[in-house]
C-alpha cells in the first residue's frame, strides 16, 4: 500500500487525530506544571510534598480518625477526607428518603399534600444553598440552650449549643461481634428470600418473606446492639466547668450542614422521583390493576422498578452534587477537607498548588466511585430486552 493511501484510510486517520489531540493535551499539562514550578522557584515559594510530613498543630473539633494536633499534615488531610465522606454519605441516604417521600406526596391525589410538596420543591429549588447552610447554622445555634440549660436524654446524652454529647466507648470489640451477627442475619435473609422466590416461581406458594425479614433485618440487629451496649464500658458525659466532659460530641456545624444538604437536595430528588414515576406509561398501571394487584403492589412491583431506570442517571448527578456541596461546610466551620486542608493547612504552609490539587483529587476519586457504583446499579436495573 502506498503512503498516501495509508493517510486516506479512515481508521488510520482517526488514530492520527486522536494521538495528536492526546499529545497536545499532555504537552499543555506538562507546560503548565513546568511553568508554575519555575515561577514558584523564582518567587521563592516552597513547592513539593514535603510539607505533608510536618506537624500540623491544628486542633480539629470533630474527628472520626485518630487525629491529634501533634500529628502530621497528612493525618489532618485524612481527618478532613473522613469528615467530608461522613457528612456526604449520610446526607445522600437521608436526602433520598426525604426526596422519595416528597416526590410521592407531590403525585398524591390528596390536594393539600400535593400542594405542600409542590410548594416545598419550588421554594427549595429557587434558594441558594449558602442561604440554607447559614439559616440552619444560626437557626440551630439560636434554638439550642447554653450548656448549663442542656436538654438531657435519660441522663446519658445532652443537647446544647456546643453540640450533642453522647456516651462513647474506648473499646469497640463488643460492637465488632454485633456487626458480625448483623452480617450473618443479612446473609441468611438474602438466602431465604432467594429460596422463597425460587419456590414461588416453581410452585406458586407464598412464603412469609416479610415476617422473616422483619426478624432477621430488624430484630437481630437491635438485639445484637443492645447486648453489645450492655457488655461495653461507657464514658458517660458529665457537666464540669464550661461543658459536658467525656463522651463523643456531634457538633452543631455537622447537624446544620447535614440538615441543609438533606433539605436542599430532597427538593431536587423529589422532582426526579416524580419525573421517573410519570415516565412509566399509564397502560402499565391499568394492566396491573386489571390483573388484580393492589395499589401498593402496583407501586412496589410495577411502577418503581420501571421508574428507577429513568431516575438513576439524574440521581447520580444529585449524589455528586451532595458531595461537592458538602464543601459549603467551610462557611460554618464544619471541619471538612476544604476547611481543614484548603483553609488551615494551606495558610500554614502556603503551598496552594499542591493542596488544591490534592483536594481536587479527593473530590474526583469519591465522585468517580459514586458514579461507578450507580452505573453498576443501573446495569442491574435496566430493561432487559429480548
Amino acid at each position: 500500500m502506498r503512503l498516501s493511501a495509508l493517510l486516506y484510510d479512515k481508521k488510520i486517520r482517526d488514530l492520527i487525530y486522536q494521538v495528536a489531540v492526546l499529545g497536545g493535551l499532555v504537552a499543555t499539562g506538562v507546560y503548565f506544571v513546568r511553568n508554575a514550578s519555575e515561577n514558584m522557584v523564582k518567587a521563592g515559594i516552597a513547592s513539593g510534598f514535603d510539607f505533608l510530613g510536618r506537624t500540623s498543630g491544628i486542633d480539629v473539633p470533630f474527628v472520626l480518625t485518630n487525629y491529634q494536633p501533634s500529628d502530621s499534615i497528612l493525618a489532618l488531610f485524612w481527618a478532613g477526607v473522613a469528615n467530608t465522606l461522613f457528612v456526604s454519605l449520610i446526607a445522600m441516604v437521608l436526602a433520598t428518603v426525604l426526596g422519595f417521600l416528597i416526590g410521592l406526596a407531590r403525585l398524591s391525589n390528596h390536594w393539600l399534600l400535593s400542594t405542600l410538596a409542590g410548594g416545598y420543591i419550588e421554594f427549595v429549588r429557587n434558594i441558594p444553598l449558602l442561604f440554607f447552610v447559614l439559616f440552619w447554622y444560626f437557626g440551630v445555634i439560636a434554638a439550642l440552650p447554653q450548656p448549663r440549660e442542656s436538654i438531657g436524654f435519660f441522663g446519658i446524652a445532652f443537647l446544647n449549643n456546643r453540640g450533642l454529647t453522647v456516651p462513647a466507648t474506648e473499646s469497640l470489640s463488643a460492637f465488632g461481634w454485633a456487626l458480625i451477627a448483623i452480617l450473618i442475619a443479612t446473609l441468611a435473609h438474602w438466602t431465604y428470600a432467594r429460596v422463597a422466590k425460587a419456590r414461588k416461581e416453581a410452585t406458586g406458594q407464598d412464603a412469609p418473606v416479610m415476617l422473616v425479614g422483619l426478624v432477621l433485618l430488624i430484630g437481630v440487629p437491635v438485639l445484637a446492639l443492645v447486648v453489645a451496649s450492655i457488655a461495653t464500658q461507657w464514658s458517660i458525659p458529665a457537666l464540669r466547668g464550661f461543658n459536658y466532659r467525656g463522651g463523643f460530641v456531634i457538633i452543631p456545624e455537622f447537624v446544620a450542614l447535614l440538615a441543609a444538604l438533606v433539605t436542599y437536595t430532597a427538593g431536587f430528588i423529589a422532582e426526579i422521583v416524580r419525573g421517573g414515576i410519570q415516565a412509566v406509561v399509564k397502560g402499565q398501571r391499568e394492566a396491573s390493576y386489571a390483573l388484580g394487584l393492589t395499589r401498593g403492589q402496583t407501586l412496589r412491583l410495577i411502577i418503581i422498578p420501571q421508574a428507577m431506570r429513568v431516575m438513576i442517571p439524574p440521581m447520580t448527578s444529585q449524589y455528586l452534587n451532595v458531595l461537592k456541596n458538602s464543601s459549603f461546610g467551610a462557611a460554618i466551620a464544619y471541619p471538612d477537607i476544604v476547611s481543614l486542608f484548603m483553609g488551615s493547612a494551606l495558610n500554614n504552609t502556603g503551598q496552594a498548588i499542591e493542596i488544591i490539587a490534592m483536594t481536587l483529587a479527593v473530590y474526583l476519586v469519591i465522585g468517580l466511585a459514586v458514579s461507578a457504583l450507580m452505573n453498576v446499579y443501573n446495569e442491574n436495573t435496566k430493561l432487559v430486552t429480548r
Binding site: M40, G57, P69, R162, G343, L346, N348, G350, Q351
Partner: protein, 343 residues
C-alpha cells in the same frame, strides 16, 4: 582570557559610574507604582483601629496610615492609595501574584511564612499579643481558666496554631472551632457557639465593637504569645523593599526626633540636628539614593504624621480603642520601638 576581558569591562563600568548621576538598581515595582500613579495596598477586611472603611468608603487605621505614608513618600500624595481588603486566606496569593504592592494588615511575622511563602517582613509597626475575649458572666480571669471551653478562631491565622499549642502544652481540653473569616468567628461567638474568641489584644479592642452588647464581654489582659506585625512584600526588588522598610523607620525616627506633622516645616528650615535635616531632605540626598524625591519623608510626615500621631489617632488615646502604647512605645520610654539611624 574571556574572563579577564569581562572583569576589565566591569571595572571600567564601576569607575565610570560616579561620573554620571548615581545609578540605581532597577525597581520594577517602584516604576509600576509611579506609572500607575497609585499604590496598591492590601489591608484587612475590616478591623477598627487598623484598617476600617467608613460608610463613605474612606479607609482609616494604623495599617492604612502606613500605606498612606508610603504613597506620600513615593508619589508625593498620601491619597494616592488603592486599598484592597483581603481575608486571612486571600492575603498570600494576592501578594504573591502581584495584585498588590504590599500587605499592611495585622499580619504576624513568622519564620515559616518568611521562608516558604516568598515574602519578606519589612519591620514592625505593632507589637501584638494574643488573648481571648469572654463573657463577663463566665467568670474567667485568665486563659488558664478556659479548661473545657470552646474557642472560636479564624482558620489559617497564627492564633489558630498558637491557641492549639498553648492548650496542648498545658494539657487543657479546649475545643477550637475554625472559621474562614474573623467576622464569621466573632458572629458565632456572639451567637453563643463558643465560650471565647481569640485574636490579638489590639485586634480584639477593635472587634469588640462588632458584638451585640460590647459591655457584656471582657478581654483577658494577659497575652499568651508575641505577635509582631508589620508590612509585607514579595521576594525580589530590593530597592522597593528598602523604601518600604525605611518609610516605616522614618515614621518611628520622626517621633524619636520630635518631628510632627505640625512642626515639620519649621524643623526642615531651622533644625540644627543633622539626622532631622537628612530625614527631611534639607541635607544630603537620601530620597534620591532610593530613587525618590528628596522630600519623601517630609511628605509622609507632613501628610500622615509621625508614628505617635498615627498611633494616637487610630488605636491610641485619641481613638475609640484607647490602647496604651505599652510595647509600642519608643525604646527611650520603656517600649520596644527602635529604628536604625538615618545616616
Amino acid at each position: 582570557m574571556k574572563k579577564t576581558t569581562l572583569t576589565l569591562l566591569a571595572l571600567a563600568g564601576m569607575a565610570a559610574a560616579p561620573a554620571m548621576a548615581q545609578t540605581l538598581a532597577p525597581s520594577p515595582t517602584l516604576d509600576a507604582i509611579k506609572a500607575r500613579g497609585s499604590l496598591e495596598c492590601g489591608v484587612h477586611l475590616g478591623l477598627p483601629g487598623f484598617s476600617f472603611a467608613n460608610d463613605k468608603g474612606e479607609w482609616t487605621g494604623l495599617d492604612v496610615d502606613y500605606c498612606k505614608a508610603l504613597a506620600a513618600a513615593i508619589l508625593g500624595d498620601a491619597n494616592k492609595v488603592k486599598f484592597t481588603p483581603t481575608s486571612v486566606q486571600q492575603r498570600w496569593p494576592i501578594l504573591q501574584s502581584g495584585q498588590v504592592d504590599l500587605l499592611s494588615r495585622n499580619t504576624t511575622i513568622t519564620f515559616s511564612r518568611n521562608a516558604s511563602l516568598g515574602i519578606n517582613f519589612q519591620g514592625i509597626n505593632f507589637y501584638e499579643g494574643q488573648t481571648f475575649i469572654v463573657r463577663k458572666s463566665a467568670n474567667v480571669k485568665a486563659a488558664k481558666d478556659l479548661d473545657g471551653a470552646s474557642v472560636c478562631v479564624a482558620a489559617g491565622s497564627t492564633e489558630e496554631k498558637n491557641a492549639a499549642d498553648w492548650f496542648r502544652e498545658r494539657s487543657m481540653k479546649v475545643t477550637i472551632t475554625n472559621f474562614q473569616k474573623n467576622d464569621d468567628a466573632i458572629a458565632a461567638y456572639d451567637a453563643g457557639r463558643c465560650d471565647a474568641y481569640t485574636a490579638g489584644i489590639g485586634a480584639l479592642a477593635g472587634q469588640r465593637a462588632k458584638l451585640k452588647v460590647p459591655g457584656d464581654h471582657i478581654i483577658l489582659a494577659e497575652p499568651i504569645s508575641n505577635d509582631p506585625q508589620g508590612p509585607v512584600t514579595r521576594y525580589g526588588d530590593e530597592r522597593y523593599q528598602a523604601v518600604v522598610r525605611w518609610v516605616l523607620n522614618g515614621m518611628i525616627a520622626a517621633e524619636a526626633l520630635g518631628v510632627t506633622s505640625k512642626n515639620v516645616d519649621d524643623m526642615k528650615a531651622n533644625s540644627k540636628n543633622a539626622e532631622v535635616r537628612r530625614l527631611l531632605g534639607a541635607e544630603g540626598n537620601f530620597g534620591a539614593m532610593l530613587g525618590l524625591s528628596n522630600d519623601w519623608m517630609y511628605n509622609a510626615i507632613k501628610q500622615v504624621g509621625n508614628y505617635a500621631e498615627s498611633y494616637d489617632r487610630t488605636v491610641g488615646k485619641d481613638s475609640a480603642l484607647k490602647i496604651e502604647r505599652g510595647q509600642n512605645q519608643l525604646w527611650t520610654k520603656g517600649g520596644l520601638l527602635f529604628t536604625p539611624p538615618f545616616q
